[in-house]
Amino acid sequence: MLLSTDSVAGAPVYTGEPKFKKQGQLKETMQRLMKNKLAVAGMVMILIYILLAIFAPLLTPYNYAELHLSEKNQSMSSAHWCGTDDFGRDILTRLLYATRYSLGLGIGAVLIGLLVGIILGCLAGYYGGVVEEVIMRFCDVMQAIPGTLLAIAISMVLGSGFINTIIALGIGRIPINCRMIRAQFLSQRKLEYVEAAQATNCSKVNLMFRHILPNTISPLIVTTTMGVGGTIMMAAGLSFINLGVQAPTPEWGAMISAAREYIRNYPYQIIFPGIFMAIFVLSLNLFGDGLRDALDPKLKD
């Protein structure tokens, strides 16, 4: 890498260190990503949602939990753009605040799954043998339980609430990440750079997390991006069957669930949270698709 044959001919010598090369890769990936209009649109929408979540108190004059029974079930108007719900709360305000909770749920659960999954996957992929066998059988069993049901069982034990729902949803994601990291580790374990690192008496932890892990991460980025959307939808499903986040905490699924009673007379109470949520998940998926194509250009035609 330090010397190239071109140097003889007087061409610029390539003395790039790995770090330099990595930046080049990142730049290339970003360039490919930026060319994909849909992915950029998704990214912009995600940014808008994040800004909405952060600046929610500045954007709306209403409080998301305060009851105004005199104004209940109002239709759309200039005062309440999306109308009010059965407690007279402004639906748009609740949607904005719900972005905070739904985003938090999605990202939190995915991070838990990622963290534990990566550690288990690294151990399984690196050590092999009994460790691998135990961890992989654990994954088998966890994946033999349909995700929704596992989340239901765990949230029954933990009870409802924001943090508990994050944990319940996060546990279901552990085996997915674990499997993926292990598969990547198996393909990397025999490569020369691992041997080289071992020869320099590199510690196992260092070898696993600083040398091999960075090389295995790119397929994980895509599943993680898509996973946030999937988790938000699953969280909404849990709220819909009265688990998950509880009132008065605004959450998109909980809002749909609460509005179900008024489906006949006030359908807008259901329509707005659904659209708000769908646009966000759609943006995440667009961005995820774009990322996948950018990270692995071979996959694109």
Partner: protein, 326 residues
């Protein structure tokens, strides 16, 4: 091939048992005392204690686990509901067919509509057909199915009055639930079959076939399709699991008397025995589905077939050699 099938069946047994152990362990930590739930808050402490003894709730964890496993797998008794005392096994048995119809028909729709859509998109890639299919698929995986269900309910049941708003007493009642439950899997399947097909189309043997001057039709159906289907079959099992989990919520949207509705009412009533048994039964159903898919996969994928048949031949060859040597 019998060896392969047999091996897969043997492999599923520990998974099923461990699933039961995991679910039992998770539910073991549920807050609240079953005896109190059964007797209600009005019962005296002595009565509660007596019932706890009778139910074996004072035994150590491992004894409880053992008796639970014995009851469930040897005596096939799933216990009774804490709330109304009905037998869970008979309740599940009477509701199982409804849930199975929902989950299976969703899977069939995925195969019959999702796969062709994806293949169509792949063969017309970057054309308007491709873009339309993929846009629809993207929307399909981005919109929560219960929300779509409620919207369709508003349109077709409440506004137009074409379809019943709840129950499955007539065939009309099935239309919306099946459609809604299949939506996510349909979209996923279309996306996967597109990428699977694209991967095959790019491979060298397709170029060879083209170079030989074969017709596009023949290349598509005889060369590309079989190979692109193989990875798709593998995903069918997990998509069945997803639609099985989906029924829990869909049954609740359309008030369908299946296992999902049973489970949700148990969640509302904190009826832990029902939740535990239901989750275990559905997980077993999922494992069996995965097994069936794997076995089917073994018959379709020549590589697995060859592996097992080749092995048999090898063994026979070794035996013959031994016999000759003797």
């Amino acid at each position: 091939m019998i060896r392969y099938v047999f091996k897969r069946i043997l492999m599923i047994i520990p998974v099923v048992l461990l699933v039961a152990v995991v679910i039992f362990t998770i539910m073991y930590f549920c807050p609240g005392d079953p005896a109190t739930i059964i007797l209600g808050t009005g019962a005296s402490a002595d009565e509660v204690e007596a019932l706890r003894d009778q139910m074996g709730l004072n035994d150590p964890y491992i004894v409880q686990l053992g008796s639970f496993m014995y009851q469930t797998f040897i005596k096939l008794d799933l216990g009774t509901s804490y709330i109304n005392g009905v037998s869970i096994a008979s309740e599940l048995a009477s509701r199982f067919s409804v849930t199975l119809v929902l989950a299976l028909s969703a899977m069939i729709i995925e195969i019959v509509i999702g796969m062709p859509l994806g293949i169509l998109a792949a063969t017309h890639r970057n054309g308007w057909v491709d873009q339309l299919c993929m846009l629809l698929a993207l929307i399909g995986i981005s919109v929560p199915s219960f929300w779509i269900g409620l919207q369709l309910l508003i349109i077709f049941s409440l506004k137009l009055g074409w379809l019943p708003a709840f129950g499955v007493s007539s065939w009309k009642g099935w239309i919306l639930p099946i459609f809604v439950n299949s939506l996510r899997g349909l979209a996923t399947m279309a996306r996967q079959s597109r990428s699977s097909m694209l991967e095959v189309i790019r491979s060298d043997y397709i170029s060879t076939a083209r170079a030989k001057g074969l017709s596009e039709r023949r290349i598509l159906y005889r060369y590309a399709l079989p190979n692109s289907l193989i990875p798709l079959i593998q995903t069918l099992g997990s998509s069945f699991g997803q639609s099985l989990g989906g029924t829990v919520i869909i049954e609740n949207v359309f008030s369908i008397p299946g296992i999902g509705q049973f489970l949700v009412s148990a969640i509302t009533n904190r009826d832990y025995a029902v939740i535990r048994s239901t989750v275990i039964v559905l997980s077993i159903a999922f494992s069996v589905a995965m097994l069936l898919v794997d076995v089917a996969f073994g018959f379709v994928d020549p590589r697995i077939k060859a592996q097992y048949e080749g092995r048999n031949k090898k063994i026979q060859w070794k035996r013959r050699n031994k016999a000759n040597a003797a």
